[in-house]
Amino acid sequence: MANKVLMKGNEAIALAAVKGGVEAYFGYPITPQNEVSEYLSKYMFEQGRVFLQAESEVAAINMVYGAAASGKRVMTSSSSPGIALKQEGISYLAGSELPAVIVSVMRGGPGLGGIQPSQADYYQATRGGGNGDYHTIVFAPESIQETVDVMKEAFDVADYYRNPVMVLVDGLIGQMMEAVDFNRPVTKRFLPPKDWAAGGMNGHSGRNTICSLYLDPYELEAHNLKLQKKYQAAIQNETKFELVNMEDPDYVIVAYGTMARVVRSAIEILTKKKLNVGMIRPISVWPFPKAPFKAINRNCKGILVCEMSLGQMLDDVRIMNNGALPVGFFGRAGGIVPEPEEVVDAILHFEQRRVD
């Protein structure tokens, strides 16, 4: 662990963004992600890069839009109610095909909700509140190390697809400290030059315009079909997941982020009880993994979805399961991180947890 440093999740996110080549950051204060801004306010200034505290989340995402449209690597970060305000901007980024990284550190909702860790913004991240047929590529890591690895890659993924990429963590990952290695290699991608960017005509030949407006319905449909092609490519190439103990399990648990770590501990306890339980851990929640659900053995007794929400990813699991196996759900809301014993109990009383 010689290369590892103990670091708070939010600060690690900030430093990973720097390592990922972020050129500009725009944000607005909201708990529990303030350390991202605080760290970058100093670091970006020292590096001669751009840091600006915007007057609102709405302004911040539109500053991101301007910097992205003019060709820069740019990011913002926020938490649940703040991400809600950014949804318009995210739709515009997708519609105008602009790369940007958005970090969402989830807290309990709805409304002002609370500030404790939650996964109640799965719909917000994967479906989005912005208008139109668009998708945000969403990675939901489970540890600070994985968050750092994903952050560094997120900028490349965003540039490659010319699409917003969201890194989705809960407040616990933002607030906790863990040892992390910042020098792990990142998958190399071929990134074409940003010859489409509108940063002044002296930077390219001809005149560039960035827009999401197509008043002609046929043109707009063609634009949408082009976007869908990109999304299909992302489904092919960016789906990420981990399988834990998936050889002939009695039950399969599906969980992501902090919840997945709690499930790992629950699986250890269940193993001692001679129960063979596996886990499918989506790392990309959009695109959502499909293949591991097809591979589940048919004598498996059921799938338990565990979330720090009252059932959102559950929808995706139901779609992938397509009625094949019984589905159960366990979740806590409001900012409560469940203990492993609660998950153990849910598996032991699976029939009571069934929602299919």
């Binding site: 662990m1 010689a2 590892k4 440093v5 103990l6 708990t31 529990p32 500030i115 404790q116 407040g171 616990l172 607030q175 906790m176 400290m177 863990e178 040892a179 902090t258 770590r261 709690v262 790992r264 501990s265 629950a266 250890e268 991180v337 469940p338 203990e339 492993p340 014993e341």
Partner: protein, 187 residues
């Protein structure tokens, strides 16, 4: 050390609870163990009760939350009240006996009364009470090499607070002495 140790540290905001926990996590990382530090965060850390959890383990850490702590460090009565029932039977509890006069029944196998504030005051600075407690904790648990802890302290204080190094080290030593000399405990 066990394969994995769950530690809860709790007290008033301003008693150095978070730093106590972070020092354990830094020390573990330096000794190439796995460590996870989770704070309670938000308005409660400003004046109210603050607490943090630390997990130190020989293998990668899964769940960041645990049902019961193996070690509890309580800096004030509300903290002891809040967590007294969330300690393993064979666990260790250290409480700040300068502030907690009537601890009541604690089911853990080892309970140490540490007059952290009084010792810190006798050293001339109430603010090192958390280091007195840390000394007692390190001595009773046998966790980490003294050199590791000293190095971490040096890093955390930095150049700006380097002049506070001697009193902090003295506080840790005083805490260790309390345990060596048999601070009131029962098994």
């Amino acid at each position: 050390m066990n394969d994995s140790v769950n530690i809860k540290v709790a007290g008033f905001g301003g008693q150095g609870v978070m730093m106590f926990g972070q020092m354990l996590a830094y020390a573990a990382t330096e000794e190439e163990l796995f460590a996870l530090w989770v704070p309670s965060y938000g308005p409660e850390t400003r004046g109210g009760t603050a607490n943090c959890s630390v997990i130190v383990a020989k293998k990668p850490i899964n769940s960041p939350v645990f049902q019961k702590a193996d070690r509890l460090v309580a800096f004030n009565l509300p903290s002891l009240e809040k967590f007294r029932d969330k300690v393993e039977k064979n666990g260790i509890v250290l409480y700040n006996s300068s502030l907690i006069k009537e601890p009541g029944a604690i089911s853990a196998s080892t309970v140490l009364a540490v007059p952290a504030n009084d010792v810190a005051l006798s050293l001339g600075n109430i603010q090192v009470a958390n280091m007195v407690m840390l000394g007692a904790f390190l001595e009773v648990t046998g966790m980490f090499l003294p050199a590791t802890v000293e190095h971490i302290l040096q890093k955390l204080l930095g150049e700006r607070k380097a002049h506070l190094m001697p009193i902090n080290l003295a506080a840790i030593a005083a805490g260790r002495d309390l345990v060596k000399n048999g601070a009131s405990s029962h098994a």
